[in-house]
């Protein structure tokens, strides 16, 4: 009788362990996918910056034919769609902070494209954000 009870307990523990592992795998997949999407967001922001730097005066035709600006807006729209699809099943409190990675990619790209400076403080910040996102996706049972 007692062995039967302990068997049931063992099964329950196993079932919980399997569920936790599946949840952790889903969470990690979400973190990786959203992280990739932030590259699109960063590309959109950089294109917008290139586009706006070309604006000399407010002219509707010049704005509409400003290829980097329009491409930036289009990419931003694509990013928003990706986020909506991600939010369908993913957790808001998990996905929203990951978007900060876009800020990191923009900072890194600005160094190469616009020759903005990178100092130790910025580098520490970049690593800290990446580490934080990695922590969110870490495979570990909760609590």
């Amino acid at each position: 009788m007692s062995s039967q009870v302990s068997n049931i307990e063992l099964d329950t523990t196993r079932a919980i362990a399997v569920q936790e592992r599946q949840e952790a795998a889903t969470r990690r997949r979400t973190v990786i996918m959203v992280s990739c999407c932030t590259l699109v967001c960063a590309a959109a922001q950089i294109l917008m910056k290139i586009g706006t730097s070309r604006i000399t005066h407010l002219d509707p035709v010049a704005l509409a034919t400003n290829v980097p600006l329009m491409a930036g807006y289009a990419l931003y729209g694509v990013f928003c769609l990706m986020m909506i699809l991600a939010l369908r099943h993913g957790e808001l409190s998990l996905i929203y902070p990951i978007i900060s990675l876009a800020y990191i990619w923009v900072t890194v790209c600005s160094y190469f494209l616009f020759h903005e400076t990178l100092n130790p403080l910025k580098l520490i910040g970049i690593l800290s954000v990446i580490f934080g996102v990695a922590m969110l996706g870490r495979h570990k049972a909760e609590q």
Binding site: C80, L81, M83, I84, L85, L87, R88, E91, L92, S93, L94, Y96, P97, S100, Y103, I104, T107, N119, P120, L121, K122, L123, I124, G125, I126, L127, S128, V129, I130, F131, G132, V133, A134, M135, L136, R138, K140, E142, Q143
Partner: protein, 115 residues
């Protein structure tokens, strides 16, 4: 240049509105069935709240330093942790707290480094 408190409050408001925008995007995403359901009012509200938050942000940074104010936008991550818990019954775990902590720290460092 010193960033006035009024600018900080505007950006704080922008972060709250932006996080609410994300809440509506999530509410709308749950109602997605076809391409046409992309036009549901919840997604629309989410997009408008985002645009609204960028107006307050733009207003806020007019009189302050972006290096201080931009990182404040990431305070929105803390609000979404609250909304996630209240509205979507998401779990608040130590893992999320630690991850968020490092992200916030990082965003502040990059902001201060951009001075």
């Amino acid at each position: 240049m010193i960033t006035p408190v009024s600018s900080m409050l505007l950006v704080l408001l922008a972060s709250v509105i932006g996080s609410l925008g994300a809440v509506f995007l999530k509410l709308g995403a749950a109602h997605l069935k076809s391409v046409w359901s992309l036009l549901n009012w919840r997604l629309g509200a989410g997009v408008w709240l985002y645009l609204g938050s960028s107006i307050f942000y733009g207003w806020g940074i007019k009189n302050g330093q972006i290096s201080v104010l931009y990182p404040m936008v990431s305070l929105g991550y803390i609000w979404t942790l609250g909304w996630g818990r209240l509205i979507f019954n998401e779990r608040v775990t130590s893992q999320k707290f630690i991850g968020l902590g490092f992200i916030l720290l990082g965003v502040v460092c990059v902001g201060l480094g951009s001075k």
